[in-house]
Symmetry: C2
Subunit: 510 residues, 2 copies
């Protein structure tokens, strides 16, 4: 069928979609969601373009004889213009769709089949609903170690990957605990010993701050691959935003569908972590697995099972991984929010005695594992060495170099970091001791205050579990960029009673 | 966040989608696929409108400060114009999404939960990928009889439903056998006895012709609900296209996603059949279940299990159903394609002796069950009565009345029906007997010839299983509206060797 192109001034993202009038679609025998192939006499592309069909019943949008092509699909045709004639016919369903159905029927996929799914996801030949169906199938039927290995490799091949030599270290966290600014401490500790650690991180998705958000308070974090190579050759370390690099775009496509589905099945989560590390040339990895309510692993037992599985698949893609199950019952340190977390990390790097203890212990635990893996410390001595490097100021010197290399001010002082000028302090109305610090309430308040978009917004927790409190003690503070957001955050505090739960000594009155 | 409306000259179908610039989305803390709520000062609607968020990185499409609203979503706001200001904020995920996740986790849903999913599907509050995930979850984890009953009722409530009194009859087929024009015979047989049979049917989806396509050769099939009521009060029967009525729109929304996913799980199939019948006020139903390769039930055992399940759920929604497992190894009758099938049915109605036998037997079998259910015939005597009504010409008289009531020519003769003028006959190149008639090859050839869009196209099978063939006998014929399509169909015949497989008498040479 010959149709005239009508350019639609809109993008459809990765998926290639074209629109026909319902009457033409009926003539073609095609329904919405099915595939058509497009050929242009003018185009130099010998292979026809495959696109997903959408249908309109409105003749004023797309009349009979017209085909609506979105801007990003139009780019795939050289020289094709509005009103050009194009030939349209039914296209076969790609083989990858059969493999998706195979997974839905509970069968194992071969590496060729997984490659085919990933290639078609990248080229836009699988529709959003087909990918949603695949992700749901994996959520229910799982993936075994062979499949996860194949998926990791296929995702990695979908983008750029780096080779920084045989000894490349990194850390990653499965997330779920607020205030987890440990990367800002671990990277300079490891880099100070001369080890190579090309840390990429994400911005916050559902939390008040990601490592990328906090680091951005201290220095730029957006670099392309050439700039990244220069950073690494200069400082053997970086803390950059992974989103600016073209590493594992196939993983990003899956994540874009997993997120609105609130799905993060282990069969996709492990490949997602490993492909990002593999793309960065990482050979040795410590994985932080926070366990507890609100994290991906409510019990240590679940975290342990995941860790064993993770290590095995890491090994099969050439990464030596060690895992640490960590406490997640309350925030790490006292500060939550991009600027507050950057400030707390910088304070500790400058002055070990400033603490906070939970941040020192957790950072040194994870850094210590990496130092032992690298042979820099004997087994059991890694944490001590990490603390020594931190205490000595060597980690701070290294952090200053990293900040400078990334284009930040190396002499930035904690007190230079701007915090939200709208502030509200909360004081204890009773004496007692802290029995619980509720992460979920903290996240809600911090996000209401403006996190992560407003970097200066956040919260500070003055008293944590076990602390003794006197009536009137300062226990909590909210920072915000706007009075309006501060009010919203304050409202959540008042409605929930706040995240800091006090108890007396009496358990029960009989 | 206050944004200026930019009307997007495009429809998004049932799903409500709005588009933000990526920077505004980041400020809102919202990602693509998440939900936002929209409030307009000008709109009289007190409840905010919920929409699914899409994001663009192109400032020229949607600049910061703008919100792209598609035509069909814009209609939901009274008086809202291009460039008006609107307030946008994050919206909560609807409860129905949690119920979808519950199904994915393998749990049973309550009727309230199913209602909630159906209501949100209808109002556009569930996105395509969420519905795709639900359908995949049902495909893998199934639905029990309680859930299917609730789904049938919820789907029925989503649209219009009719009440034609306590004695309403109907037939339905689970499909998969070519040339199945039995409804054109059964409806007039049943209606001739005075019973009420408001038959709605579909156009072909994957087959060369649906009942609606074939009936349309004889009379118009598109009626609204008022016209339908008049038809029924006049003739106590009709054969119309269900798609023109607003019955069970929720079922249509699910089908629109099931089709491109090639999914038709029993948990959705049974409610889909029953909701359409329930909406038409049907109280007694005979279900034709073709069993064999290429149908939904490859073995009679699978068909039998389905039948037992179907009857139970039908009963729980107030429909008395009987099922017939039927042969599906070769076409019913000889003709495939809208016009050819209409012609074959009309020929039989006019002249019982014209046959074909398979069409008489199958139509009388199914009609006979309905006559027994209605008490018009004793148990075991229904088929005989059906044949008698057909032989007597009473069914033909009734069909003429139905055709006339629907606006067709009641005196149309079989030879008046126009067949494709591009024709190709195939003759046997050897003697032997027919060991197989391949349905799948027939469907491919008929569709290549132009079915179902080109009504005059189709194929005729002259010799069926068991027939003795002499060299040179006419065995197969293709009809098409265009030389080009005839060539395509002929090519498939030559490549596959055709659908009619001949064997000699020898089984094996030792």
């Amino acid at each position: 069928m010959k149709l005239k192109v009508k350019a639609l001034n809109f993008e459809t993202g990765n998926i290639k979609v074209v629109v026909l009038n319902s009457k033409d679609a009926e003539k073609l025998g095609q329904k919405a969601g099915e595939r058509v192939q497009l050929k242009s006499a003018k185009s130099k592309i010998s292979k026809p373009l495959i696109a997903i069909l959408d249908i309109t019943y409105s003749d004023s949008l797309i009349a009979q004889g017209e085909i609506g092509i979105f801007l990003d699909t139009l780019k795939n045709f050289e020289n094709l213009q509005n009103h050009d004639e194009i030939s349209v016919g039914p296209a076969q369903t790609p083989d990858s769709f059969e493999y998706i159905q195979k997974k839905i029927r509970g069968m194992k996929l071969t590496s060729e089949e997984i490659n085919s799914i990933i290639n078609d996801a990248i080229s836009g030949h699988l529709s959003q609903i087909e990918l949603a169906s695949f992700i749901t199938g994996v959520s229910i039927n799982g993936m075994d170690d062979y499949e996860m290995t194949a998926l990791t490799l296929a995702e990695t091949r979908s983008g750029e990957y780096f080779n920084f030599g045989p000894d490349v270290f990194d850390k990653h966290s499965t997330g779920g605990v607020p205030g987890n600014k440990v990367s800002l401490i671990i990277v300079p500790i490891i880099a100070a010993t001369g080890l190579l650690i090309p840390k990429t991180s994400t911005r916050a998705i559902t939390s008040p701050s990601g490592t990328a958000d906090s680091m951005e308070v201290l220095a730029p974090i957006t670099f392309d691959s050439e700039q990244l190579k220069k950073l690494i050759s200069k400082e053997n370390a970086c803390i950059v935003w992974g989103g600016a690099l073209d590493i594992s775009p196939a993983d990003n496509i899956l994540i874009e569908i997993e997120r609105p589905l609130h799905m993060d099945p282990i069969g996709l989560m492990i490949p997602s972590i490993l492909t990002k590390k593999l793309s960065m040339g990482v050979k040795n990895l410590v994985l932080d697995i926070p366990c507890g309510p609100g994290t991906k692993f409510p019990t240590p037992d679940q975290g342990r099972k995941f860790a064993i599985f993770f290590k095995e698949i890491a090994k099969s893609v050439g990464i030596h991984a060690e895992c640490a199950l960590t406490l997640a019952h309350q925030p790490i340190g006292h500060c939550i929010g991009p600027a507050l977390e950057a400030k707390e990390a910088l304070t500790l790097l400058k002055d070990y005695s400033a603490g906070p203890n939970s941040l020192i212990e957790k950072s040194a635990d994870l850094a210590g594992i990496l130092l032992e893996m690298a042979g820099k410390a004997q087994k059991g001595k890694g944490q001590g060495l990490a603390k020594e490097i931190l205490r000595s100021g060597k980690a701070y010197s290294k952090m200053k170099q990293i900040i400078e290399a990334q284009g930040g001010d190396p002499d930035i002082k904690p007190e230079d970091i701007k915090l939200g000028r709208f502030q509200k302090e909360f004081h204890a109305i009773n004496a007692g001791h802290v029995t619980e610090v509720n992460n979920s309430i903290i996240n809600k308040i911090a996000k209401a205050a403006g996190c992560p978009h407003s970097k200066a917004s956040g919260v500070e927790v003055y008293k944590k579990q076990g602390a003794r409190i006197m009536e009137g003690d300062l226990i909590f503070k909210i920072y915000s960029d706007s009075q309006n957001n501060l009010n919203k955050a304050e409202k959540i505090y008042n409605k929930t009673g706040g995240p800091i739960i006090l108890g007396g000594m009496m358990i029960e009155r009989v």
